[in-house]
Every structure is written in C-alpha cells, then in structure tokens.
Point group: C2
Chain length 231, copies 2
C-alpha cells in the first residue's frame, strides 16, 4: 500500500498554477493588465489573502508587476527567463559572452548534425535579410536580422533546453548585444563569418560551423574590449 504523500496542494499553489498557465498560454499576454483583486478572488473562489499570496509569488518570480493604485500587469512569460535575467545583472558582459559562446558553439554543432530542410530554408531567408539590411545600410534592421539569424541557428539544434537558455540569455542581453553588433556590423568581417557559419551548418560540417562561432565570438570580444578601452 502506497502512502499518500504530500499530495495536498495548497490553494495558493493551485491559484499560482492556473495563473501561470494563463500567462504561458498567452491568455494573459505580456503587458496585459489583470483584473482587480476583487474580481480575481471571485474568479478563483479564494479569499483575499490566498489570492494575494499567489500574486506575490508570481511578482517575486518576475512574471507579474504590481503598482499600488494602478493595478497588476504581466511583465514576462517565463520563470526561467526572469531568473536568468536577474542573475545576469550580477555578471559582467565578458562572463555572459563566454557562456553565450559555449551555448552558441554547441548549438552550431548540433544544428550542423540535425538541421532539417526547413531549417536550411529559414537560414537562407535570414541570411538574405541580413544582406538586404547591409545593402540598404540600415543598421537597425541589420541588428534585428542578426539576432533573428542566431535564433534560427539555435532552433536548428532541435534541443529545446538549449534553445530556451540561449533565447533567455540573448533576451536579457539584448541592449548590450545590440550595441555590440552595431559596432561590428560596419565591417565585412561580421557578414563573412555569418556566411561561413551558415554554410557550415547547411553542409553539415560540424567543425566548420563551430570554428565559425569561435571566430564570431573572438571578433565580438575584441570589439568589446576595444569599446571598453575608449571609456
């Protein structure tokens, strides 16, 4: 006979779960303002205290944000993302870049092995977008296309955990990354390395793709240290 363990789930955790589902499913999209506490109390059929404890848990988790007198809003849809973001604030840019390097290299290797035909198509598409941005000399568009391209590469690894971590890291880094990419984008080097990376993945050349990532990150780190020297 199996003893019923702590199967008792507190009301608060039940409410938290339901709210998390609503947020992750997009029913409560990022930016949405939640109904006031009174309505939520009725909706979940719990007391004020219970509801507030649930909301507070999500606030501390980084998914919600409350403002006295104004209301409660959704400010993120991922617990992991919020946790990583908080941790990254305590790290310097170089540390973060090194971890990104690790993830991106592995993503490139896996992508080279596992990329599907759709992945290849997506890669070509994003490369075109980069090229067009360069020809139009539109830095803003290039930065966006660049970030997108790297997301596509990560996606081609078909490792959901890796994709998640990578996405959250670049999310948290987006401002710094944008600046860095903007600094480097003026050179042809950047785009040449992109080409080598994408070609490697398409040709299923694992080592070639990994080597391209190494070059890419070396270039990024160099630019970073140069821009730091200027200060």
């Amino acid at each position: 006979m199996k003893i019923e363990k702590t199967n008792r789930i507190s009301l608060v955790e039940q409410v938290v779960s339901q709210m998390e589902s609503l947020i992750e499913s997009g029913a409560w999209a990022v930016g949405t303002r939640l109904p006031p506490e009174m309505e939520l109390m009725e909706r979940f059929d719990v007391s004020r205290n219970t509801l507030r404890e649930a909301v507070r848990a999500l606030v501390h988790g980084g998914l919600l944000q409350t403002k006295q007198g104004s209301g409660t809003r959704v400010c993120s849809s991922s617990v992991l993302g919020a946790a990583i973001e908080r941790r990254l604030h305590k790290s310097n840019l170089l540390e973060t870049l090194e971890v990104r390097h690790a993830l991106e290299r592995e993503a490139a290797r896996l992508a080279a092995v596992r990329r599907s035909e759709e992945d290849v198509q997506q890669l070509r598409l994003q490369m075109d977008a980069c090229l067009k941005a360069i020809q139009a000399n539109d830095h803003q568009a290039y930065v966006e296309a660049d970030i997108q391209l790297h997301q596509v590469i990560a996606a081609a690894s078909h490792n959901n955990l890796l994709i998640d971590l990578y996405e959250h890291m670049t999310d948290a880094l987006h401002s710094s990354v944008r600046n860095l990419v903007e600094l480097t984008s003026c050179t042809d080097v950047h785009q040449r390395i992109h080409g080598k990376l994408v070609d490697g993945i398409i040709a299923q050349n694992e080592d070639g793709a990994a080597e391209a990532v190494n070059e890419y990150m070396a270039h990024l780190k160099e630019t970073l240290s140069k821009s730091l020297e200027e200060l």
Copy 2:
C-alpha cells in the same frame, strides 16, 4: 535631475530580501527549520499577512518549503538553481547532457587559459581522490570524487556565471549523473579521459582539454543510449 519614483520597495520585498540574504549567507542553512510565523513577525516587525506573502514568494521560488502543522524549512539556497531544476524536469536526459557538454567544454577551455597554481593543486588533489576510490573499488566514493573533480574544473574557469550554471545543472542532474557515472566508472576509459582533461588544463593546452571533454561526453552519451536500450 533624475526622479526615482520607483524606489518604493514594498515591505514584503524587503522581508524577502532579508530572508534571501539569510539563506544565501548560510545563516539559515539548507535543511534548517525556520522559527514559527509568530517569531518571524516580531523579528521583522511586520504583520502576519506581509510575512506570509514573503514566505510564499520564497516557497514558490523553491528556496523554502512549508508543511502545515510542522513548520517551514530551507530546501535550496539559490533561486537560479531552483528555476533550472524545474526547467530540467521538462527536458530529457540527452538534451540536458548536450547543454552540460557545452558548458563543460567552455569551462575546460577557460580553465586551460586561466588556471592558477591553486587550481592546479586542487585538480591534482581531486585526481588523487578518484584514483584512491578506484583502488579501493569504492564506487560511491568514486562518484563523489568525480563530481567534485568536475566542479573544480568549472571553478578553474574563473567565470562565476558559468560556475553557477554548471553547478546548478549537475545538482539537478545528480541522481541521473550518479547512475551514469557508476555505469561508466568500471572501465579504465573514464579515468584515462580524466587524466587527459586534467593534463590538458595543467599544461594550458586549450584544444587538448576541450577534446578530452568531447571524448568524455561521447563516452557518457554512449553509455546512456546503451542503458536506455536495455529498458
């Protein structure tokens, strides 16, 4: 003049911060039972609701665990660790191993570049521990020494973010890893690769260390797929 309106920190968050500090500092070590709510109310000078919201936030964050009628206990000392652990439950072992591969390879490369003399000493010490465990044919001790060795390698990278991520991943994986290592530890291959890895780091041979990690992970993945076939 910069207006800092958002400087208003809620009482709950203040209490949460203090408790987090107590936990991270070790004043409330993992496993410790917290004082009852009444005492904490007086200690932090807040009402029961406020205190409970703070506790609930930490419970949901994975740092605390409450049991009605029994009390509240510390069950983890890191928010990031708890978040990663939860995410890992949704991933399969292969995905997790691949990410660990990425982190460990980067750690080895950085360690080869940055290892200090103390690091070298620590590495030699842990290698000895592994050897002794093998000679004593003590599997339990070998597994522990193996995990310790890899932690030392990560530490030698001198990248705190990387160290954190790696530690939390292996923490969350500990049971699976223990089993895997136990399966592989009977062969000499495992120890030979360890030797190559440590030698590479000590000799500051970046590529050699990275190659050793590749071999190590390949061996681990092979063992994993074999053990999965048996089911």
